[in-house]
């Protein structure tokens, strides 16, 4: 914080931020219904139905006045305490102390009462013994409780800031507190809850032996695929597959990124659009297309076996099939990460190298390539983790090649219902992904990758040396062709009666799914898919911007601020990405089906799960872009008197457009195509497109599944295009056209 700003704050004793949060807190306590409403807060039925005295709708204050739920009353005291601080100056020692104490006690009390008192009175037996039967109960927290909780949180962070944390920056401390609070609630708490079940015995006691029995299982670590003709354990299978996928997708993604930015290849825009295709494809579809091309009766297999006169085989089921499908699906993610980095490498450096007479090959090898390393490492990490957590492709194409993600799913939903085994498998999976995470940190080391300094950063990227341009171009072209074929097959498949058996063309599947009738009451959505379609659009549309906001704020804190526990903070925000969706799904049901947070069966739980599943991508994209922006940009903004919120908003954010776009697109698309966590969280009211599609696939009704998926692809294309238009492209100040003279 600068001197100017400090003195400005000194002069104001009113503390507008503090007052704002106090108002929020009191509104939550005295005006809004404390508990969750079955019909949601916005039905406004509660306003007409006995509010504010009716138990179900009453704010905490009115409950207290009627002598009910008296355990909520101490909160009023903690909300009143900060009033003492309003008249004081910020530098006054007691100002910070009061806020810290009020915030911490209030927040702590809120959580304590929430966990202690549930729908059957006391939640713990020892409380029953200590205080006797409660004779009362409470349901999940509602809007009132939520406002009060946020008020306490930010009162606390303001107190901390006033006592000098992170240079007394209210915005930064508040943001850290906010991210820590939500990540703890929606990642650590449910996961800890779930992992504890790895140690639960059948008699409901805890034992470390149960864990080791399950951990040393042959189905997990067996190596008989190397020694004898048997099968290897799921752990080895997953690891091997993920490493392969990580390497291949990173290589392909880099090839595409280089081809787009550094060759004078034509159809660049088309290629760019094409790489986005697999990412907007619902699960299973690529797998189905691969089966129909390469399966035992697949077109390609049959053609080749006829040609060579050999018996067709089931070669595609197992490692080869999963590998092809995952490479198709995850290369675009690597591309999206790498394109930002490859574009972001400042041409000034490369021009400098060329001025110093380095040839193109040497420039690339010693300047461009090392600067791309953070991108390479991030792309590999994403590919690795995505492959580890992927669920749809192994399910369709896995054959006998068992991987951890599907094993976890069937440990829970299978005939065995072994939650402990699922938890143990999840721990193994988590171990692998964390190891990859650390390996990446180790490789990148502590070097600086900053090239965008704001100091006259213009120029054009040099072209690739010919020895590289040709293979890069060839790989890109071959892969492009393959992708096009797969997609043509998919679109074709949505128009045939019964793919492979009866190939007559029909609109039948689209009509079943999306028929619309006009009558006196207006439009009637009669198709069977409309319900899940609208829900999906709504949920994805809400989740995407929230994910981008949380992700970028986190990335900003990680790259731009120093604070105690930063490493633990980074670990926490990345954790949810490393955990497979199936585990998230089950842990969410277990954690959020009971008070204090009771959101299963609502749309909120879907939104929340998407935010925390996809936030890490926003964080990674943000970090990758921000580590290229020199700190001098922030510093000059701060020196000129802006505070860190303004700096973030006006300086960092505009330069982050590629990262924002990546985060928005990714989270929207993932919210529409995710399946593994969703399958546990959908409810009758909130059914999602993917879970509907799975039902069709399970039923061998490929036509409808593919028709629905095709529709989703076009919808997502439209939305992604609109987002690109709205967010706009980053104007980093490069000359726009790559002139032909630049060689």
């Amino acid at each position: 914080m600068t001197l100017a700003e400090t003195s400005r704050l000194e002069s104001k004793v009113t503390h507008p931020t503090l007052v704002l949060w106090l108002i929020v807190g009191w509104v939550g306590f005295a005006l809004l219904p404390w508990y969750g409403l079955e019909d949601g807060i916005l039905s406004f039925e509660w306003l007409l139905d006995g509010y504010p005295f009716e138990d179900d709708y009453a704010p905490a204050l009115f409950l207290g006045l009627q002598g009910q739920k008296l355990w909520l009353m101490p909160l009023a005291l903690f909300l009143a305490m900060p009033l003492l601080a309003i008249g004081k100056s910020r530098s006054d020692e007691s100002y910070g102390k009061i806020l810290v104490i009020a915030g911490a006690l209030g927040f702590g009390w809120l959580i304590l009462q929430g966990f202690s008192i549930g729908i059957r009175g006391w939640n713990f037996e020892w409380l029953n013994q200590l205080f006797g039967e409660l004779g009362d109960r409470q349901f999940g927290m509602g809007s009132g409780a939520m406002l009060v909780a946020s008020a306490f949180l930010f009162i606390f962070t303001q107190g901390i800031a006033a006592r000098g944390a992170v240079n007394g920056d209210i915005f930064v401390v508040g943001a850290i507190g906010f991210v820590v609070a939500i990540v703890t609630t929606f990642v650590f708490y449910p996961i800890a809850n779930m992992l504890a079940s790895a140690f639960i015995t059948e008699e409901n006691t805890y034992s470390i032996r149960v864990f080791f029995d399950k951990f040393t299982d042959r189905r997990l670590w067996g190596l008989s695929c190397i020694t004898a003709g048997g099968r290897c354990g799921a752990a080895w299978n997953s690891l091997f597959l993920a490493i392969l996928v990580g390497i291949i997708t990173t290589g392909l993604g880099l090839a595409f990124a280089l081809a787009v930015t550094r060759t004078n290849m034509r159809f660049k825009q088309a290629l760019r659009a094409l790489t986005v295709l697999p990412i907007i494809t619902p699960p299973f579809v690529i797998g189905l297309a691969i089966i129909l091309l390469f399966g035992l009766s697949g077109s390609v297999t049959v053609f080749i076996s006829d040609l060579l006169g050999i018996q067709p085989t089931r070669w595609v089921y197992g490692l080869p099939g999963i590998l092809i499908a995952q490479t198709l699906a995850f290369t675009p993610i690597a591309f999206l990460v790498l394109i930002g980095v490859v574009e972001g490498v400042s041409p000034s450096m490369e021009e400098a190298a060329q001025t110093l007479r380095a040839n193109r090959w040497n420039t690339f090898r010693t300047v461009s390539w090392p600067l791309m390393r953070p991108g390479i490492a991030n792309a590999f990490l994403l590919g690795f983790i995505e492959s580890m957590a992927d669920f749809g492709n192994p399910l369709v194409l896995g054959g006998n090649y068992d991987v951890l993600s599907t094993e976890i799913f069937f440990a829970i939903v299978g005939a065995q219902y072994d939650q402990g085994r699922a938890a143990v498998l999840a721990i193994v999976l988590l171990g692998f992904t964390l190891a990859a995470f650390w390996a990446q940190r180790f490789w990148l080391g502590k070097k600086s990758y900053t090239t965008m300094t704001g100091k006259g950063d213009s120029g054009i990227h040099p072209h690739l040396p010919r020895a590289m341009a040709v293979p890069v171009f060839t790989i890109a072209a071959v892969w492009t062709l393959f992708t096009i074929i797969i997609y043509c097959m998919i679109i074709y498949g949505s128009f045939v009666e019964l793919w492979g058996i009866n190939n007559s063309l029909t609109f039948k599947h689209y009509i079943t799914a999306f028929s619309v009738r006009l009558d006196a009451e207006g439009i009637r959505w009669t198709g069977s898919a409309w319900n899940s379609f609208w829900t999906t659009i709504q949920i994805a549309g809400i989740a995407a911007p929230l994910t981008a906001i949380v992700g970028l704020i986190t990335a900003y804190l990680l790259t731009r601020q120093n604070f105690a526990g930063k490493n633990a903070f980074e670990f926490g925000t990345m954790l949810s990405f490393a955990i497979p969706g199936t585990v998230i799904g089950v842990s969410y049901i277990l954690a959020f089906n009971v008070p204090p947070i009771e959101i299963t069966g609502t749309g909120i739980i879907l939104v929340v799960s998407f935010i925390f599943r996809n936030m890490p991508v926003g964080v990674r994209a943000g970090i990758a872009s921000m580590s290229q922006l020199d700190k001098s940009l922030d510093e000059s903004s701060l020196t000129l008197g802006a505070n860190s919120w303004q700096t973030f908003l006006k300086v960092i954010l505009p330069l982050l457009r590629p990262a924002i776009l990546a985060a928005l697109v990714y989270s929207f698309v993932r919210a529409m195509t995710a399946i593994s966590a969703v399958i546990f969280l959908v409810s009758a009211e909130y059914d999602m497109a993917t879970s509907y599609i799975i039902g069709r696939v399970e039923n061998n009704d490929y036509g409808l599944a593919i028709a629905y998926s095709t529709t989703l692809i076009f919808v997502m294309l439209a939305v992604v295009g609109a987002m690109q238009f709205l967010v706009g492209r980053a104007k980093i100040g490069r000359r726009l056209d790559q002139s032909r003279t630049n060689v």
Partner: protein, 341 residues
Amino acid sequence: MKKTTTIALLSSALLASSTALASADKLTFYCSAQEEWCQVMANGFQDATGIEVNMTRKSSGETFAQVKAESSNPKGDVWWGGTGDPHLQAAEEGLTEPYVSPMRGELNDWAISQAESAGDKTIGIYSGALGYGYNSDLLKANNLPEPKCWKDLTKPEYKGHVQMANPNSSGTAYTTLATMVQLFGEEDGFQFMKDLHKNINQYTKSGSAPIKAAGRGENTIGIVFMHDAVNQAVSGFPIEVVAPCEGTGYEIGSMSIIKGARNLEEAKKFYDWALTDEAQSLALGVKAFQVPSNKGAETSPSAPDLSSIKLIDYDFKKYGSSDERKRLLKKWDDEVSTLPQ
């Protein structure tokens, strides 16, 4: 940070606004049969009673997991469909509510005995026999004889042509394992599973996947419930259905009321309605070829006729219990799945 809170509020508000206004009678219906069948059951009940139905379709294993996870705060009211084992398991663990329906007089004996074995916490709504189906085109292309019995499947010429689900993940495959143990005795039953193992090309995760793969031409013979095979044949796939000559086991699709249901009265209404001949005849319209439990319900000519199939006296109580299930699965894991193929 002010903004984030506003947005969080706004989003929860948006979600809340989209929930429908409350109406007097509603029912949350967990369905474990195929999608269309679930749909016609939900709509049929809504039309018959005016009670608004919220339906979620998941496989019986998934539904069991969900009911168990939600047990301290149940969201569902009635669970209809899916193989009987998870229903029995739910009854064993006290997740479901006992109920004696006035409709019992119209039901087949096997449906009632299912209810009695679970202390009235579940009841049979349909049944289906185990068997297998083969893709006649592929069989011809590979010059293979038509299999007729269980033992045929262990012949070396079928190597790499047979598919079944993994008993660890699928109720269908567990029924197969338990059937072999009851049909041939434990020792010979396991010997059969070992011989069969040599011919298996893949243990799928889901129970009906083998016959669906066969329908698409990705597999030759699939061991499944016969009504699933009939469904594929009727849908236009080149599938022949086989009732094995040695006799076979069967499943009883079941229905249970969830303990602590929020709409208990509506759940009971649904329960009674689902046992009527009228409700059970709806199955025909959606290609569900199971045998209905109501004696008066219509059946399809394509459906396998249970009276002409040699059925074993399947001991649901013994083989549905957690202990026996765990023992058999562990034995299968240790002795069968580890063998080289």
